[in-house]
């Protein structure tokens, strides 16, 4: 076990301020899993490029799940890919987050009715923190999703005991 991880009760000034520091550090460096599944990945790449510059939010693409905080599921999750995504999510180090990007990853999108090979939403295999609607979403939408995730991280507590 880590020294501080989920060890303390509520209401301590030291704990609250330490949590604030840790959360600030975590939300300012949300490293990203470097993979894309379909056309949403093109928008994700555009968000990484200089016009939208995702790196100013501290989002750096990493090539291994061990160094990663957030996974963008950018695109159509086929049933064949679903087991891989589950395995990659399992291999990420905690605390870990998932942003589901685009209609396909949210709910199956245009493949909802007749897509025999498409998983109807990535939240059927892994827990999702932020859903971004769109087909595909604009890079601005991805940036807003990241900011939503940052808000979520800001309110979390790593060292309080969980219910």
């Amino acid at each position: 076990m880590g020294l501080l991880d989920q060890r303390f009760e509520n209401g301590n000034v030291f704990i609250t301020s330490l949590d604030g520091l840790l959360n600030w550090a975590r939300l300012s460096s949300l490293w990203q899993m470097q993979f894309g599944l379909a056309c949403c990945a093109i928008e994700m790449m555009a968000a990484s490029a200089s016009n939208f510059d995702i790196m100013r939010f501290g989002v750096i693409p990493r090539a291994t799940p061990r160094q990663v905080d957030v996974m963008f599921v950018a695109g159509t999750v086929t049933i064949k890919m679903a087991s891989r995504i589950k395995r990659l999510y399992d291999q990420m180090s905690e605390p870990r987050y998932v942003i589901s990007m685009g209609s396909c990853a949210n709910c199956g999108g245009p493949y909802w009715e007749h897509g025999y090979h498409v998983l109807k939403g990535v939240d059927r295999v892994i827990p999702v923190d932020v859903y971004i609607p769109g087909c595909p979403p604009r890079p601005e939408a991805l940036l807003e999703g990241i900011m939503k995730l940052q808000e979520k991280v800001r309110k979390e507590s790593m060292i309080r005991k969980r219910a």
């Binding site: 880590g2 291999q91 905690e94």
Partner: protein, 154 residues
């Protein structure tokens, strides 16, 4: 006053402190909740196949040794080429002797056959070339010569 090595010593100490801070900080802050799927080897999301500790073919041993010798030879040649003009004829002769020794070794290795890659002889499968058609045995050559088969192929 610091000596020249004293500055390097300060760098060493600061480096050691950084490493220790990183390790201790990670231990203080990290969540540690391992389970088998999380600890599995990362193979781009695929199911890990086997162990990373596989056996390599022993034939690579000789090749690696020979490569090492000539690798070092090239590493010696570069600084020698830089200062070649200052040494003149003497430098040329010394490097020539060095090269000749290595080339003799190379010829020895070649003659001994250590550069050959011994492969097991391929087992060419043998087929019975006769095939059965309509109750009678005919060899392939007779079928190819047969006018019925070749009909329409002009």
């Amino acid at each position: 006053m610091l000596t020249e090595f004293g500055k390097a010593l300060i760098f060493l100490i600061i480096g050691a402190i950084f490493v220790a801070l990183g390790l201790v900080g990670a231990w203080v802050f990290r969540p540690h909740r391992p389970y088998p799927e999380k600890n599995a080897t990362y193979e781009c999301g695929e199911e890990p196949v086997g162990s990373a500790w596989i056996r390599l073919n022993v034939r690579f041993y000789v090749t690696a040794l020979i490569f090492l010798i000539f690798d070092v030879e090239v590493a010696f040649l570069f600084p020698w080429a830089l200062v070649y003009r200052q040494f003149g004829l003497m430098g040329f002769l010394e490097m020539a002797v060095f090269l000749i020794i290595l080339i003799v070794g190379y010829a020895y290795v070649w003659v001994k056959g250590d550069l050959n890659w011994d492969k097991p002889k391929p087992q060419i499968p043998v087929f019975d070339r006769t095939i059965v058609t309509a109750g009678r045995m005919r060899s392939v050559s007779t079928i190819l010569d047969d006018d019925d088969v070749n009909e329409g192929v002009e």
